[in-house]
Subunit: 255 residues, 2 copies
């Protein structure tokens, strides 16, 4: 059984956010990633080579298509297609908006690059952060590029798109700490850090917006080295997120 | 004066490693990056819009060409061209191979993705690491994608391509500590860290090669959270590099 023209068109259209949203699905590629996501998200369509299918006899998928390497290459959005691709349903969990009061959570204020977004989901998974709240201006986590960069982290980290300002206002009223990184923040290593609260990270070019900045209760700064060096430089947003999350969890390990 | 067909072809050919190497040059784009690099590397050719050129009257460049936005778009390798692009000479510094004995340095063992490589240069700059030693199998730091990702860090971090195994053998014989991250390493926060030595980071898929692993004197592990969680996961190489470098420098600040 081969991939029909209509299916090929369908898969390739998943590069478009609008189409993904209407259909409520996303695309994942490669044996590691697809393997990780099967069982976590309902699989609507799976296309794979004979070898991969023979190694996975008990598949739960709406439809399974056996394809040649050439066919897979035609459907794939990757430069080097890898044995299998699958279309999964997007989860539709209602977020618990009070979550940051109880557990450490992340928020993104208009992060633009899907690669950065996916990398942040991956590292959130590593550091046991299970909820990521994104402003509506943030990239779509279900874009193929973001999904690939999560390396399976999307199965364990819930991503919610929210009105970020309203969401933060609600939890600050309940006494929840809001952390954010700023060039004029206090050195990360000198600030008391809690194991609950919200860590807000900003846009690649502009950082955290003025509207959100007003809601931040604890401004952090990742010290560059040597100290007091004059610098107009900055860190990539995923890199900064990792350094901050690692420090929060280091404190927890020290307790 | 417009961009000749030959120059357009020349610029676009800088996407090819072989051509960059023969010519000994690299391409950088955008006002922030080009501004940072002017004065650090000899500029051979600069193409910019009238507005940009009027704002920069005292340029030191072999050749300056005023271009329309359309012409710039034709020459640019970026999706959204930005006012200026420039061709710089690659530096030809002979590395001091004993450097890690005196200062904290980084080494990459076959890192493949130019985006990761550029991001690592950028964070090395932030953490005051001035030398990055790359195996010959590592991506080319002068590829346009890597250069853009350095965000100017390439002006302050020297990148050297070496026979990594020989290079490390030479410094270990002189008692230099060699750090590396492994899933079976010791928790980062429990290992004494020096402010000299070499931090080796491995390939995206395979980590550090067996040959280099034998030369590592201190195996580190970035603790995931919660501790003792079963995980088959990993961190992106640039993310892992950042967490390790931040921890080395945190220790220095604590002294």
């Amino acid at each position: 059984m081969a991939l029909s023209k209509a299916k090929l068109k369908y898969i390739r259209a998943l590069e478009l956010k609008k189409f993904r949203k209407t259909e409520g699905v996303f695309l994942a590629e490669g044996p590691k990633l697809v393997g990780d996501l099967l069982g976590h998200f309902p699989c609507q369509l799976l296309a794979a080579t004979t070898e991969w299918l023979q190694a996975h006899p008990h598949l739960q998928a709406g439809e399974v298509v056996c394809v040649s390497t050439e066919e897979l290459a035609r459907a794939s959005l990757l430069r080097t297609p890898q044995q299998v691709l699958a279309v999964f349903r997007q989860p539709e969990e209602e977020p618990d908006f009070d979550m940051p009061i109880h557990a450490l959570c992340l928020a993104l204020d208009d992060v633009q690059d899907p690669g950065n977004l996916g990398t942040i989901v991956r590292l959130a998974d590593w550091f046991g952060i299970e909820h990521l709240f994104c402003s509506h201006g943030t990239a779509d986590v279900y874009s193929p590029k973001a999904i690939q960069a999560t390396m399976g982290g999307i199965a364990r980290v819930q991503v919610h798109y929210v009105n970020l300002s309203q969401f933060i206002q609600n939890i600050t009223m309940k006494g929840c700490p809001i952390y954010g990184t700023f060039l004029d923040g206090k050195p990360l290593y000198e600030v008391p850090l809690t194991q609950n609260g919200l860590i807000v990270m900003g846009n690649e070019g502009n950082g955290i917006s003025a509207e959100i900045e007003r809601l931040v209760t604890d401004k952090l700064y990742i010290p560059s080295y040597p100290p007091l060096r004059e610098t107009s430089e900055s860190l990539n947003v995923a890199i900064a997120t990792a350094v901050v999350c690692a420090e929060f969890r280091r404190r927890a390990l020290e307790l």
